[in-house]
Symmetry: C2
Subunit: 327 residues, 2 copies
DNA sequence: CTTTCGACTTTGAACGTTCAAGACCGTGGA
DNA sequence: TCCACGGTCTTGAACGTTCAAAGTCGAAAG
């Protein structure tokens, strides 16, 4: 193993001082053209790579971002995070940052982890997922001046911080339109109980589209916790109505799968999230642009880190409908 | 924001020198009981947390491990990595390490990334997944004295490095036994083309178990690339044989799902990996103990890092059969 | 000719930690 | 009495980088 190549090695080789090498790396405009080339040749010849620990000690910046990895809560939806993570890592690397993972049991625990990570690793920023009403984590971070971006908007105050989100309502609207176009008139919605931002948004998209086509949504929706059994139960309930729906828009692939089983193929069903399960069983589903969302998160975060301190930015992405055999 | 608390702040507060504080943290046995307590109180009172960048600069160790996150190649199997990652992060945190992600297009690209990560972040070690015959990555790392552990064994030379793996043959053996116990005698195997370590191992388990029960496996297996359509095709082929199988053991949930569709419910099917899809459709499947595997990977790696330089260690874990409605 | 200026470059110090070496002190053996 | 020794603690230097300040040089201005 060759001995370590530091900035001093490069400086000696290029016959300049340490600081000049540093300037070539960080403020090239301060260095004369010819000197710069000489230094760059030395860097290449020696295979010099900057030591980030040393830089971090001086500057306090680590080039490290952190994301929480959650224990796949519901198997069926877990792969969403997976794809998002890959996108984040990829986009971060392109911008010279790396992604570090952490786990946490709940929001309180997560805040303790923030504290540790910031103190010990000097993390530059966080990407939060799964934000909820009045998320304590965002307040904690904002109070301390730590940069962060959320994937998912803060439902109470949209401009409180920067975020990237997918337009859930547009997703269910697309699904509903698709069903209307293929001839359905009685279209049911199976979602989560009212109160969750995402869930309400998905219901809204269905409701508004129905009304826009002068179809009455009244009585055609049900809410239950996420799950296949719950989806089946809701579908059965709706199917026994006098004027039963001929199609369902669902807030998740789990619910959709349940509905599909309960309806026994007689009913059109559209799910949400385009999970592997949907791909496997031919379920038409709303697909979130995860790689794109991840890239935008990194964009916003790095923009903040690079000292663009004024204001926050919001990005709302359109999902797309992946049409398969179920609708 | 309070001013920074360093080792010097603590030292002043506890009326000792910097080095004594450092010793309390790293070599407590060198410090007198009473002094130690005083320092510990100061640490708690001031909320001191060590600055890892500074430590890293002196010691060259970063407390950072890296894992590659792959673009979910086949949606249906992607969640395996997801669960493994969560286990790794959790186990690493418990040992005072953090997990960093990176992406790579292929093995060559991955080696370039190794080089960068090592030079810039001083990474302590790697966890590699998806090893293949004659994996160039492991040679590159070993040559440079970089510590690593693989999840998946090196099929050519088992003791070349430390690894953790799941006993694939045992998994298909369990599946085959289950089918024999429930009365099946003609049991087919649908796997991948010969040549991949994992695939051959899974076929072996089926074959040996058949022979052990004096059942003839000849002609009852098919190989195809992973996929639902391929699974269906293989199943159809086998089902049109004169003395057709009444049950299938499959090398993946994708193949199993295809087989299930082709057989139309008349045939028992067991998959492999216990993916969300299996959970969703009631497919009996072989489940890998991922959190456990992750924890063992971290164990081995940290053991190496802590300077246990002699020899390598191999860990082979037993999978378990998750019984659902398909068999 | 001297001064001023700007472009470029160098020097010393600092970031927070640990290593290596040495200082201090009380005990016990010669 | 003297010295060696082990236990405990302190001091100076070093890791590789960047900041802040100062130095050098040639050209333009007075």
């Amino acid at each position: 193993m060759a001995e370590k190549v530091t900035i001093a090695t490069v400086a000696a080789h290029a016959q300049v001082s340490r600081q000049t090498v540093s300037n070539v790396l960080n403020s090239p405009h301060l260095v004369r053209e010819e000197t710069r080339r000489r230094v760059e040749e030395a860097i290449a010849a020696l295979g010099y790579r900057i030591n980030l620990a040393a830089r971090q000690m001086r500057t306090g910046r680590s080039q490290l971002l952190a994301v929480r990895i959650e224990p796949t809560r519901d198997g069926i939806n877990g792969s969403v995070l997976d794809r998002f993570l890959h996108g984040l890592t990829f986009a971060a690397a392109a911008a010279g940052y790396r992604v570090m993972l952490y786990t946490a049991d709940d929001d309180g625990d997560e805040i303790k982890t923030f504290d540790n990570l910031l103190a010990s690793y000097d993390l530059d920023g966080f990407v939060l997922t799964g934000t909820d009403h009045g998320d304590v984590r965002t307040f904690w971070l904002a109070e301390r001046g730590v940069q962060f971006v959320t994937f998912g908007r803060p439902w109470d105050a949209p401009e409180r911080h920067s975020w990237v989100d997918v337009d859930n309502a547009d997703g269910t609207a697309q699904a509903t339109r698709r069903l209307i176009e293929t001839g359905h008139r009685r279209i049911g919605f199976i979602g989560w109980p009212a109160g969750s931002g995402v869930g309400d948004d998905r219901r809204d998209g269905w409701q508004r589209t129905m009304k826009a086509h002068e179809l009455d949504p009244a009585g055609l929706d049900r809410g239950a916790p996420d799950g296949i059994a719950q989806g089946a139960e809701c579908a059965r309930e709706l199917l026994t109505m006098p004027d039963a729906p001929t199609a369902f828009v669902c807030a998740s692939d789990s619910l959709a799968l349940g509905a599909l089983q309960a309806a026994g193929g007689r009913t059109a069903v559209i799910g949400f999230d385009d999970t592997p399960v949907a791909q496997a069983i031919g379920l038409t589903s709303v697909s979130q642009p995860l790689p794109d969302a991840a890239a935008r998160c990194i964009d916003l975060l790095i923009n903040h880190l690079d000292g663009n301190p004024v204001g926050t930015t919001q990005v709302l992405l359109k999902p797309s409908l992946v049409i398969r055999t179920s609708a």
